[in-house]
Subunit: 248 residues, 2 copies
């Protein structure tokens, strides 16, 4: 079963690169700080980054003391950029999909995945394979698009009043799990919607111990200065979960 | 700290009684089956029901073999009805708030709470006290109004198209936790909104092990016959969690 490799689409790749270069993007202001707040002390740790993209996080894990970092990404273009721009001693990049880790060898203290698992159809299989790749007591830390975002059946996200201020989020399809094809930089980007309860139950069934869940938004200080961020009072963009490998 | 006792309001009580007598209510079609699907074999078990209301569930736990059942409710009127209509051997009702269980004596195999904890301001304290009341390896099973319901900042729940069909749920205030005053049967019913992540983190911090989470909706067969239920495709009404007492 192959998940979509949209990041190797020329138009998508260029759009994405531009987006990620914006220092005020939700990625920079919300996603990265939340991800690193869940991370352990990296000193001497082995780390696997699933969907490593341009490799900025891999480089940072190494800088923070990780003994060995492996970054995987389905996109050849991404891995090319990572290898050129974010190489660091003890960091290796592999062009490989995370949807079949069964053939992947190795054991890691920490597995991390930033904003990638919502592209994976078989979440249960992914979790089973991550569990196998973790050392005893190892950590799996991931972020994904929030289920309230993956849910939508249309691209009509927000409702506004007569002055153009956002009044609420147009939530549709939350209880209808499965594939979504959306327009994001290009048409037909494929994602998979799972409810909060499905996500938690899959983690529990795969014997992970839930340590912490986050649904971060920009802090009220930033939001008060930038009214376009007030929408986050209605809906967060990201879901984060930190898990520990439990034994049988 | 006292939580609101709205169920002893005359107008609320009569409205609520009528609502619960409807055999096609979401309580009957969705909430009860989901709650019982999470329950263990009651044979020989001791059970505490927090916010037992009219006591139908207490009676059912006893009928299913529970050795002893205690039902607590903050509402004197509710406990009067329970004592008159749903008494059963080994079932006892107490008119008492669940917001201070620290003085309550006893140990139980199972603690259950149906649609009540969203009225409790200090969820952390409640969970601490429930943990103390459970036998080793005991279960806490609860349902509550779904966080997508408790979130709302207005009574404007649904958007409709020109034909009156629901197009989406008007989600507001999900990230803004705290008190909500709503109109439900009467004005100023006080509830507390907590996000999904807050709920999970409080449970984890109080050393509960999460076994299962449910966000049930009516089955597609029922929904296809009754178009007013199609709204549940956009948003579930209830959240259920089954927890096991973990050790220190």
């Amino acid at each position: 079963m192959n998940d979509q490799n949209i990041y190797d689409d020329e138009q998508f790749f260029e759009g994405y690169r531009k987006l990620r270069n914006n220092p005020l993007s939700a990625n920079e202001i919300v996603e990265k700080p939340a991800l690193f707040s869940l991370c352990p002390d990296f000193n001497g740790k082995t780390v696997l980054d699933l969907g490593c993209g341009f490799g900025e996080n891999c480089q940072e894990f190494a800088r923070l003391g990780a003994k060995q970092v492996v970054g995987l990404d389905i996109s050849k273009k991404m891995i090319e950029v990572a290898s050129n721009e974010n190489l660091y001693s003890n960091v290796n990049y592999l062009n490989m999909s995370m949807s079949d880790l069964s053939s992947f060898e190795g054991k890691f203290d920490v597995v991390i995945s930033s904003l990638a698992v919502h592209y994976i159809k078989d979440f249960d299989k992914l979790l089973f394979e991550i569990h196998n790749l973790l050392e005893d007591d190892g950590l799996f830390i991931f972020s994904q698009e929030h289920p309230l975002t993956t849910a939508l059946l249309s691209n009509n996200y927000w409702s506004r009043d007569a002055n153009g201020n956002i009044t609420h989020y147009n939530l549709s399809g939350y209880s209808l799990e499965g594939e979504r094809r959306i327009n994001w930089l290009v048409d037909n980007v494929i994602k998979y919607h799972r409810t909060f309860s499905s996500i938690i139950n899959i983690l529990v069934n795969q014997r992970f111990i839930i340590e912490k869940v986050l649904e971060p938004i920009p802090d009220q200080n930033i939001m008060s200065k930038e009214s376009s961020y007030l929408k986050y009072n209605h809906k967060p963009d990201f879901l984060f979960i930190r898990l520990r490998k439990g034994s049988l």
